[in-house]
């Protein structure tokens, strides 16, 4: 699976990628661009990535997740380029035999992704001001 896209993230594709009749619990996470108000209303965010590494690092994270809970299925994608307010920048789906595993592993993947994926974001405000955001 490709973990980097310029297009809107489709939750249905992530869910389909992990679905199986052996897995009774599926957890999906979407990180979406907030309108924000710290510096003024955000118009959109431009995500820049070290694309080759993003692809490899996301694969590694997902492989590690499978290693932690072998009977699970995991999928993840990060959007790059312009992402409008209210649209998703990242999606992660985990299906597991039981719900507690699905939640725990999905949250683990999200935390690892935030910590490890080589992605940066430039926030563009309604007034046109642009700045790199580190968070």
């Amino acid at each position: 699976m490709v973990h980097v896209t310029h297009d809107p993230i489709e939750p249905g594709q992530l869910l389909a990628a992990v679905a199986s009749s052996d897995r009774g619990g599926t957890a999906l996470f979407l990180g979406t661009v907030r309108r924000g108000l710290d510096d003024g209303p955000v118009a959109w965010i431009e995500y820049e990535a070290y694309a080759e590494m993003l692809e490899e690092e996301f694969s590694r994270i997902l492989a590690e997740a499978r290693g932690r809970a072998p009977s699970t299925a995991v999928a993840g994608v990060h959007r790059v380029g312009t992402v409008p307010v209210g649209e998703a920048s990242m999606g992660v789906a985990v299906a597991a035999p039981h719900r507690a595993e699905a939640f725990a592993l999905c949250q683990w993947v999200v935390e690892e992704a935030k910590r490890r994926l080589p992605v940066w974001k430039r926030e563009i405000l309604d007034d046109g001001a642009a700045s790199w955001r580190e968070e």
Binding site: G31, Y47, E48, A49, Y50, E52, M53, L54, E56, E57, H78, S89, M90, V110, A113, K114, R115, R116, L117, P118, V119, W120, K121, R122, W132, R133, E134, E135
Partner: protein, 84 residues
Amino acid sequence: MSTLTIHCRFFARYAELLGCERVDVPVPNGATVADLVARVRASVPSGDRLPVHLMAAVNRTHVPSGHSLTDGDEVAFLPPLAGG
């Protein structure tokens, strides 16, 4: 051959600070990522605008600053990550 050629890449804010996304930098055999950072800051134009401590990836894998380099390595200098 006691010199390694390292393919450096800069992203986001760092690329803006340097006005450059890629540059090849020679370092002595046995050099670490920390040594490369010092060389970049001293020899690349505007290099001193970069922080002294930089997060780096070698060949698309996160590494600590003590990581030893090999000829031809691609070393990316990563501003604080903000994905997700």
